[in-house]
């Protein structure tokens, strides 16, 4: 019964989305307040019904209702409750319901909190949101019905892919979707502005917090995914430049560019049509990401069973959004006149450079990701574009970006003075140079590591210098500085945190790529190996039962200069439903480095073979690797601090204008 209610609610939501997509659009054209208001009502009602459908689906998973097809395919009665819950979005149908749920939530938010928006703009934004809702609800109802019943009802489910039964991945999709779908709001605002033919500072004040919130969620989502890959896949790496990973990083890069160009629209009334274009592009890339993951057109190590027909549907949605968005842009963008002029050397100039470099970096990722598909379609053979391609293209474009990031915030709006900005950054320059030279002497390279370390130190020191300059640290008394710090807008503090966090992340990426140590060996009880000063001694492998798996657990004691450090327990887990093995790496972290041990297969050589009997063990020493995720978390925190700024608060744009 509850399942049918859920299905029915989804169909009603589709009807309401149709109303939301049409009524306010007509209302805004004819200036009819009743029709415009219908959009707001429809958005709210649509949210309620999608929430009801989502709750019904969640209920089916939590109580293990095996009459529902996707519960059977993705759940099992013996599964821990957390993974029963996260099983809701651990499959295609459920994840699309989550997508629409977030979309309708945002639509309802615009309807509820957008009371101070010009009524026609709000109506048009809601209409565009409604159109996206129509597309995705139709997609769910026609190709991926989550409420499909089974008859006869099986006794138990087939279980969730064990690799997904993990806290890191449980919350990866919701945050990723919050980001993707959050950019739909920026898209809707952009389309509405194109229809209105008007973009002003008030528009940017609305778009910025939405973009910022979406960006924060996406940052966390991508970081969670990378963290999961690091500890769950047992390869000791954090990023593989795989198509599915690239699919999430492309909207992130475009969204980061959008975040910065929207500042210029808000503060200086310039870069309007560029910002609109970025808003459209960011959401189109979010849809592209969904398409890549859901269609399986690209070979990815992260591919889960997928369906090309569904991929085609998303491709059509993508074409409509891209074609409609870019087409409208081509027709109407000339109406958006930018007023604020600025010199090349200025804060705006720095932000333009930021946008150009982020755009170029995004384009290289796009080309590297889709080139194999293009070549395959043209029958040019099957190729794969691996990490070397991205390392050779992405990194060289990021280097100048980081260099500019240090100076940009020090420049004045409109016309900046590069010489004086650089002279204030002399300490940062000295720190960067000393750091780089020290690395060259201690490690002797590689060159990219020297550059990476120097640039990240430059960025961190630059961010601190910028804050110190703002509060006139050591120029005036400490208490006066503290007072200035308290009075600083939160958005400025958020920027300092986020920029510094990028530096922390680059330190982590550079050090762990350059000085990682990897040892693969066969170990028996009593064998020991020394990696980076840590002596690891094998204490044997035992069988340990888990809630829905049987684990083979190795016990390894770690000592350093004869002193005990820790005991590590890497596992291989054999799940019964479905039958699958997963690797649970053991990680010992000091905060500055990770000791990472993964357990492989047991070696039992045949008679006469020279192979050694024992367990295959993979030991990694990854310097500074935790800083990658610490950096990502601080980046997100910087975004949140900035979001908390009174002037950014959703619903408070009028107060900010005064």
């Amino acid at each position: 019964m509850i399942v049918e209610i859920g299905h029915y609610a989804l169909i009603l939501a589709f009807g309401l989305a149709l109303v939301q997509a049409s009524a306010p659009l007509i209302g805004a054209q004819k200036n009819n307040a009743v029709l415009m208001d219908m959009g707001r009502m429809a958005a709210m009602a649509q949210f309620l019904f999608v929430a009801l459908a989502f709750a019904a689906l969640t209920h089916a998973f939590v109580v293990s209702d095996f009459s529902v097809a996707i519960v059977v395919a993705n759940s099992h009665s013996a599964k821990p409750w957390l993974y029963k819950l996260t099983g809701v979005w651990g499959n295609h149908e459920g994840s699309m319901v989550l997508w629409v749920f977030i979309l309708s939530l945002f639509g309802a938010c615009v309807g509820t909190f957008g009371t101070n928006l010009p009524p026609t703009l709000r109506a048009r934004v809601l209409a565009v949101q409604g159109m996206i809702g129509v597309g995705f609800l139709l997609f769910i109802l026609t190709t991926s019905n989550p409420f499909l019943r089974l008859d006869p009802v099986p006794a138990d489910g087939r279980g969730l892919n064990p690799i997904l039964q993990d806290p890191g991945l449980a919350f990866h999709p919701p945050f990723l979707y919050l980001g993707y779908v959050g950019f739909s709001v920026a898209f809707s605002f952009a389309i509405a502005a194109l229809i209105e033919g008007r973009v002003d500072a008030a528009w940017a004040r609305w778009v910025r917090p939405w973009t910022l919130a979406a960006w924060c969620a996406l940052t966390l989502g991508v970081a969670l995914g990378s963290w999961w890959a690091y500890y769950e896949l047992g390869w000791g790496g954090f990023w593989f430049w795989d198509p599915v990973e690239n699919a999430s990083v492309m909207p992130w890069l475009a969204g980061t560019a959008l975040l910065h160009s929207a500042i210029v629209v808000e503060k200086r009334n310039a870069l309007k049509s560029w910002t609109i274009l970025l808003a459209v592009l960011t959401f189109v890339l979010s849809l592209l990401g969904t398409f890549i993951v859901r269609s399986g057109v690209l070979t990815s190590v992260h591919s889960f069973a997928n369906d090309p027909e569904r991929g085609l549907f998303i491709l059509v949605l993508l074409m409509i959004a891209a074609g409609g968005g870019f087409g409208l842009y081509a027709l109407r963008a000339h109406k958006l006149k930018s007023e604020g002029l600025f010199a090349p050397i200025s804060r705006e100039g720095g932000l333009v450079l930021n946008n150009l470099l982020l755009g170029a970096a995004c384009a290289t990722v796009f080309i590297g990701t889709l080139y194999p598909l293009l070549l395959d379609v043209l029958d040019g053979g099957k190729v794969s574009v691996g990490p070397p391609f991205f390392n050779l293209t992405f990194a060289p474009l990021m280097a100048p970006l980081v260099a500019v990031m240090g100076v940009g915030p020090m420049l004045a709006w409109k016309r900046g003075d590069l010489a004086s900005a650089l002279s204030r950054l002399w300490i940062a320059a000295v720190i960067a140079a000393v750091g780089g030279i020290a690395i060259l002497f201690i490690h002797g390279g590689p060159v990219y590591a020297v550059i990476g370390i120097a640039l990240s130190l430059w960025l961190i020191a630059g961010a601190i210098t910028e804050l110190a300059t703002r509060i006139r640290l050591f120029k005036i008394s400490v208490t006066a500085s503290a007072r200035r710090l308290r009075n600083l807008p939160l958005s400025a503090i958020g920027m300092t945190i986020a920029h510094g966090a990028v530096g922390i992340m680059i330190l982590g990426i550079t050090a762990s790529s350059a000085w990682k140590i990897e040892r693969i060996l066969v170990m028996n009880k009593g064998d020991q190996v020394t990696v980076a000063g840590y002596t690891i001694k094998m204490g044997g492998v035992n069988n340990v039962p888990g809630p829905n798996y049987l684990a083979q657990r190795a016990t390894l004691t770690v000592t350093r200069s004869e002193r005990p450090v820790t005991t590590m327990f890497p596992e291989k887990r054999r799940f019964k439903n479905p039958v699958q093995t997963t690797t649970e790496a053991a990680i010992y972290t000091t905060g500055f480095a990770d000791l990472y041990i993964a357990l492989g297969d047991q070696q039992v050589p045949k008679a006469g073979s020279t192979a050694k009997a024992g367990w295959v063990v993979r030991v990694y020493y990854n310097p500074l690797v935790p800083w990658i995720w610490i950096g990502a978390i601080f980046m997100m925190l910087g975004g949140l601090v900035s979001l908390a700024d009174r002037r950014h608060r959703v619903g408070a744009p009028t107060r900010a204008a005064s």
Partner: protein
């Protein structure tokens, strides 16, 4: 802030900041970055594209030339009964598209879903000739996160060799996920 700058007498000595001039600067910056990206991409493509081959592409009747000293990928199914453990955590196995087979050697931990009869993609180079029998030295072995999923290259390879059985064991029914 901007008001004080506007009154700055220095401003008059510089060329006037027209929209045209601003657009010129922007175009120059964009052109430089575009040129840089294109150079980087072309350069990276020359060195780091990895081509995919099926066993039949390498030893079959429809043999294609295989570049030496370059990473390539070979994909297919892990032949039943071919997996052997060798010295120092090494493993050897054969990749088959059910018409032809290639011997592969690999040093390292295999992915969790590596199994005989399952689809696999390996990346590496051919080792030196050993009496006419070339051994493929894999640097990477890729299997999927999902046991019901077969890499597209692998299913295409088997279809190409004419041994694909629709709905049979090779085409594991796709679970709606």
């Amino acid at each position: 802030m901007s008001a004080t700058l506007d009154q700055n007498p220095q401003k008059k000595r510089r060329p006037p900041l027209t929209a045209k001039r601003r657009r010129l600067y922007l175009l120059i910056a964009a052109a430089i970055i575009l040129g840089l990206s294109v150079t980087l991409i072309l350069n990276a493509f020359r060195d780091s594209l990895v081509f995919f081959y099926t066993p039949s592409d390498i030893v079959g009747a429809t043999k294609k030339p295989v570049p030496q000293d370059r990473m390539i990928r070979i994909g297919g199914l892990v032949e039943e009964g071919s997996v052997k453990k060798t010295k120092n955590a090494g493993v050897s196995f054969a990749i088959t598209d059910l018409s032809n087979r290639i011997d592969v050697r690999y040093q390292g931990i295999l992915p969790d879903l590596f199994r005989e009869g399952q689809g696999v993609v390996t990346q590496g180079k051919f080792g030196p000739d050993q009496g006419g029998n070339k051994m493929f030295i894999a640097h990477e072995v890729l299997a999927k996160h999902d046991e019901t999923y077969m890499p597209k290259e692998v299913s295409d390879a088997i279809k190409k060799s004419g041994k694909w059985q629709e709905g049979g064991k090779r085409a594991t029914p796709k679970v709606s996920k």
